[in-house]
Structure formats: C-alpha cells, structure tokens
Symmetry: C2
Subunit: 169 residues, 2 copies
C-alpha cells in the first residue's frame, strides 16, 4: 500500500467516525493522485518549460441515499459531497506536509448547472499552497474550487474558503 492509499483510507475512516452524514451518504474516494504537469511560462519574452506537480482528489457517492423527489441527486447532498472533497484535500495536504490544523469551512458558493441522474464524481485540484505557516502557529486560508461531473457533463461548481487553524496542543 502506498503512502497516498494509506492516507486516503485514514481520511475516509476519519469522515465516517466523526461525521455521521458522510457515512449515511456513503462518500468514497475514487482517486488521490499526483501527476507531473508540463507547463509553459513566458519570462523575459523567452518561453520556459517547467514541470509542476498537480495533486487531484476525486470522490463520489451513490445516488440511492442522496436522491430527491425529482429522482436526481439532492442539492444538499451535492453540496455536502463537494464540501467534504475540499475539506479532504486540505486534510491530505496537511498530512503530506506533516503539519496539523483544524480545518473549517468559512463560506461557500455553489451553482447547480445540470441535474445529476447518475453517480457523479467530485474533483478538486490543489493550488500548490504553502501550509508551513501552520507549523509556526499561524492560520492558513485555502480557496478551493470543486467540480461535480456526471459522465462528461459538468453538473455543479463549488467555490469554498477553508481556514485551517493551528491545532492547540
């Protein structure tokens, strides 16, 4: 088992143990990956190629416990899945950076674009933020965009501001 797989198992166990709603919704992690991303940037009018690491978390939840009266995914479940996906990404990055912080959601916007007729995927990409201030006792603010996809259709977009507070030892 890789370090990433171990962390994902711990994340889901933490959700289920401490947030009953996540277990009722049957929230699961589909993938947590780091991929190399070749990006071109212009500096001093000269093109440069750089290799950056892109970290992505993808979660899901089945329709049955999350259905509404239109037989599509309930707006509350869609939001909650996206909230947990963003929270999970911050939690995973804190583990990888060996820093601790209590992560809370400060505010969020959600836009429902299309009905969710099948089991969706919620995807978030880590904005390569420095979490080291937590180790120095300072809070960190993280803005994340989570997208909810169903087949190849973007069904909802969530923008959330998370704040991680240095853990009181």
């Amino acid at each position: 088992m890789t370090e990433h797989q171990r962390l994902v198992e711990e994340l889901v166990a933490t959700w289920y143990r401490t947030i009953p709603l996540s277990q009722f919704m049957q929230v699961e992690v589909l993938a947590f990956t780091d991929t190399n991303n070749l990006t071109a940037s212009a500096a001093d009018h000269q093109a440069e190629l750089s290799l950056s690491q892109v970290s992505q978390l993808i979660t899901t939840a089945p329709l049955a416990p999350n259905i509404n009266l239109h037989q599509t995914m309930f707006a509350g479940s869609i939001y909650t899945l996206m909230t947990l996906t963003g929270w999970g990404m911050v939690w995973l990055q804190q583990q990888l950076a060996s820093v601790k912080g209590d992560i809370v959601l400060a505010d969020a916007q959600v836009k429902y674009i299309a009905p969710v007729h099948q089991q969706p995927s919620a995807k978030v990409i880590w904005p390569a933020l420095d979490l080291s201030p937590l180790a120095r006792g300072r809070r960190v603010k993280v803005e994340l965009t989570v997208e909810l996809w169903c087949d190849d259709v973007l069904c909802a977009r969530f923008c959330g501001v998370y704040v991680s507070l240095p853990s009181v030892v």
Copy 2:
C-alpha cells in the same frame, strides 16, 4: 388541526418520503406562522400605515446525526437544513396559493459565522412574491435568505435562488 399545521405535516412527510438525507438529519418544523405586520410607507409625501402579512418558517435538526469532528454542527448539515427550509417555504406558499411547480435550487451562497454548539433554528421569511405565473405555465424565481440561529447568536446565513417550474401534467 389548522390548514397550516396540516400543510406542515405534509411537507415533513414529503421530505422524509423523497429525500432520505432529510430523515437521517431528523429535520423538523418548529413553526410556520403568518403574522400581521404594521408597516409605514411614504406615498406622495404622506405617510401611510398598511397591514401586511408576514409569513415565517422555522425549522430545526438535532446535533447528534449532524455532528462533525469538532463536536459542532457539520457545515454540510447546516447548509442542507437551510436549503430545505427555503425549499419548504416555497412549497408551502405554492400550496397556500393553490399552484403547482417543481422547485429546484439554482445557486446559493452560505457564510458560516459562528460554530453551532447546540440545536439551532433555521428561519426564513417569505418575500410576498406572486406565484400566479405558475398557473399560467410560467416559471417563478424566488430569492430567499435563511438564517441559522443558536440561542441568540446568528451562526450562518444562506442566500439561495430557487426556481419553480410549472408542473408537466
């Protein structure tokens, strides 16, 4: 049993029957009231007093199924309770106006102001909107603000845009 009490019972039964999450969260209605509101309005530089009807819906949910790892109410549960409160208000007003419409949430903003340490109340006031276009086969857009209170502290504010679509017969 009054007409309002009967409608509230039907609303909660509809939630529990069609949205499993609402039943797991144990969402309940605390009150659905119409109160007379004396308002002063200026017309042609002459003050006028008018009696308007203010309709308010108050809901709640216990902490236990909605807890998070900080032992306060989970952000997803807070949002879902407020979403259902707004949806419920539109549903109730449609029943009172004898019009039918499929109510969906189009987008929403939520701000978390303070942690919820005790069972909260979610409150919404109806903006006295005309729902009669539904009877003529036209959609209605409703913007609602729902506030979540815990004792005398405002803990969260939700602004949602609901759209009610004429039911296909």
